[in-house]
């Protein structure tokens, strides 16, 4: 399967760049503003990761929790969230889009049905942060059946057999977590260990995107120095949106400049 992410990585290799992948919660702070935010991100980045707001986002820190709460309070349901993606897809036919969704939202709908709806909305890849490798089989199978790439998370403490499983099961990209804990900017130093990235590459895993705590250009450069093919920027970006939304294009440009490989 050669999807939009794969094509993006191929193109960026030619340009000597890593991928800048912003993360936003769908419908944050409300559906209309959220749709405009997605446009801004699409204009200033290489791919997007978007999240469906869930009542109990256990892998997320306070910033993304706030975003999910705002989105739910202003009426972003699963159906509305997927509509926002479908609108984005119509305007950006080649933009790689990953979806982050908690297990219960997938499960409640029925796995096959959920992945089919995600595919219909134009989503390329789905990451379920509270389903680890040992429970992933039915999710990954439903994803592939619908023509969606299953994406797995590789944390810094993953043992060898987990990395092997991730390499075997994942498609399009691998979400490599740079440190322990949950999403958020000021929750400890980012230490992008090159070991996990290198080992995943040796095992033939999908390209590594590094996430958790990436906020500044030097974080981007350090992350790419590990051999990762790109970075995911979530909480830092949402904090921008909360405080000075007008600065978003400049912020993206600043981060994107740091994706040029030395």
């Amino acid at each position: 399967m050669s999807g939009r992410f794969t094509r993006l990585f191929r193109r960026l290799d030619g340009e000597g760049r890593g991928a800048l992948v912003p993360f936003a919660v769908l419908g944050d702070p409300d559906p209309a503003t959220g749709a405009r935010v997605l446009e801004t991100l699409a204009a200033g980045a290489d791919a997007l990761e978007v999240g469906l707001p869930f009542s109990d986002p256990v892998a997320d820190g306070p910033t993304i929790q706030r975003a999910a709460l705002r989105a739910r309070q202003t009426g972003t349901t699963v159906a509305r969230g997927l509509e926002l993606v479908a609108e984005l897809r119509r305007r950006h036919p080649e933009l790689p889009i990953g979806l982050l969704v908690y297990a219960n939202l997938v499960h409640a709908r029925g796995l096959g049905s959920f992945y089919a709806r995600a595919a219909a909305a134009g989503i390329d890849a789905v990451l379920v942060p509270d389903v680890p490798l040992e429970e992933i089989a039915p999710f990954a199978e439903a994803a592939r059946t619908a023509g969606v790439a299953p994406v797995l998370i590789a944390p810094p403490n993953a043992p060898e057999n987990t990395l092997e499983g991730i390499a075997r099961t994942g498609r399009e990209y691998t979400y490599v977590v740079t440190r322990k804990g949950i999403t958020g900017v000021d929750r400890g130093e980012v230490d992008p260990s090159a070991t996990v990235v290198r080992r995943l590459a040796q095992l033939g895993a999908p390209p590594a995107l590094l996430g958790f705590g990436i906020a500044r250009p030097e974080h981007v450069r350090r992350a790419l120095a590990t051999g990762a093919r790109g970075v995911i920027v979530g909480s830092a970006l949402i904090e921008r949106l909360e405080k000075e939304p007008a600065s978003l294009p400049d912020y993206l440009a600043e981060l994107r400049a740091a994706t040029i490989l030395p």
Partner: protein
């Protein structure tokens, strides 16, 4: 008599699955610490020195065995013979202490210096704070902001034991959100921190491990009722929030098909009002807090808030083994409404001189209802009186005042 279940315990199912329920639905980073915890539990549980130390703690610190009291007046108008398993007399005032001591000892022996926990009513938090003081651990208890206000005396008790209580304002600011926050803490801190889950819920191995440490309730009950009545009970009943006290007493009777097992959930203001905590009655399969179980949720899978007069039953999920026992029909489940629980609370006080926890009063209410429905039916019944009602006095006083003023 040993208080620690004999090894190997049949309560550890393969990969933590109970039929279609259970499992380990957590961020990948928590899998290695959960695997390490499972290994540690299996290793230490079979270690004679661990078992001896836990026995000693349960006996001489917590006050086991607890009595089995035959009621004199509570159901005197029926042919039901009712015994109460008096977990209310355990140190700390509830059955929580049993498994907290087990996990705290495990944390100690595996070199954890810090222990975190979630709590709803505060009973579990108090037990953890108490045991943390005993073992010299740094204790952090996550508690919904709303519950902190509702259960202020327990917050004070935890602080007296030296614990730090962190109010959780996210989500519904109650037990489920406290559990989310504890899981988030553990994702970062697992190297030196034990997460001491308070019930038979959460990711594997917690349901199995907590169940194994609570099994002592059922083992004692079974031995004593056989000794005193010369036979097994017809019915064993317990309240179910997450389900640890129920599983603890059920465990020893699961292989006795003649013993009817009854779990009683929070009926709140009535199942038809939607304001209740009756997950087994009204929940659908879902994934939350590391497990696949039944869950109160809306159509698209957002988790709903539960409601109950008793904070300890106010949880939108339930332990996976209960979901399985309901599915196989080995146990049956019913609900008692707030009003019925309150009546049973007062009735037990007036007829037996015992103040039950509002949680336990749900089990009493359901048994009283069945007994009065068939007053001529002679049955030998045991109710797990999982905790004492002192913590509920302020709450009950306010409720009764409200009724008197109406």
């Amino acid at each position: 008599m040993s208080f620690v279940p004999p090894a190997p315990s049949p309560l550890i199912p393969a990969a933590g699955h109970y039929g279609e329920f259970g499992g380990r639905y957590v961020p990948e980073i928590l899998v290695p610490p959960l695997v390490a915890l499972e290994d540690a539990f299996l290793r230490h549980r079979d270690d004679p020195s661990f078992r001896a130390e836990l026995d000693e703690l349960l006996r001489r610190y917590a006050g086991r065995p607890t009595p089995l009291t035959r009621t004199r007046r509570f159901l005197a108008d029926t042919h039901t013979v009712l015994y109460l398993k008096r977990e209310d007399l355990l140190h700390g005032g509830a059955h929580k202490t049993n498994q907290v001591l087990g996990q705290m000892l495990l944390a100690h022996r595996t070199g954890k210096r810090r222990v975190i926990a979630e709590t709803g009513a505060g009973q579990h938090g108090v037990a953890v704070a108490m045991a943390g003081a005993l073992f010299g651990k740094e204790v952090v208890v996550y508690m919904g902001e709303k519950d902190c206000r509702r259960q202020a005396p327990n917050v004070f008790r935890m602080k007296l034991f030296g614990a730090r209580v962190v109010p959780v304002a996210s989500g519904s600011a109650s037990l489920k959100d406290a559990m989310n926050e504890a899981l988030r803490d553990w994702s970062e801190s697992y190297e030196d921190t034990h997460y001491l889950v308070g019930t038979v819920a959460g990711p594997h191995p917690f349901p199995a491990m907590v169940g194994a440490f609570q099994r002592v309730i059922g083992e004692e009950t079974r031995a004593e009722i056989l000794e005193r009545e010369g036979r097994l009970p017809d019915l064993v009943a317990a309240c179910v929030g997450g389900g640890s006290n129920a599983l603890g007493i059920f465990a020893a009777f699961l292989d006795d098909p003649g013993v009817d097992l009854l779990g009683v959930e929070a009926g709140g203001e009535g199942l038809e009002t939607g304001r209740h905590g009756a997950t087994l009655a009204r929940g659908r399969p879902g994934i939350l807090h590391g497990m696949r179980s039944l869950l109160l949720q809306d159509e698209e899978g957002q988790v709903q808030e539960s409601h109950s007069v008793s904070a300890g039953l106010d949880y939108p999920g339930v332990g996976p083994e209960h979901a399985h026992l309901q599915a196989t029909g080995r146990a049956r489940y019913t609900a008692a409404e707030d009003r019925e629980a309150l009546e049973a609370f007062v009735a037990l006080a007036r007829t037996e001189g015992i103040l039950p926890a509002l949680e336990s009063a749900h089990a009493l209410a359901a048994v009283a209802r069945e007994a009065r429905d068939e007053p001529e039916r002679a049955r030998l019944v045991v109710v797990n009186l999982s905790g004492r009602g002192d913590k509920d006095l302020g709450h009950v006083a306010a409720l009764l005042d409200g009724e008197a003023g109406r």
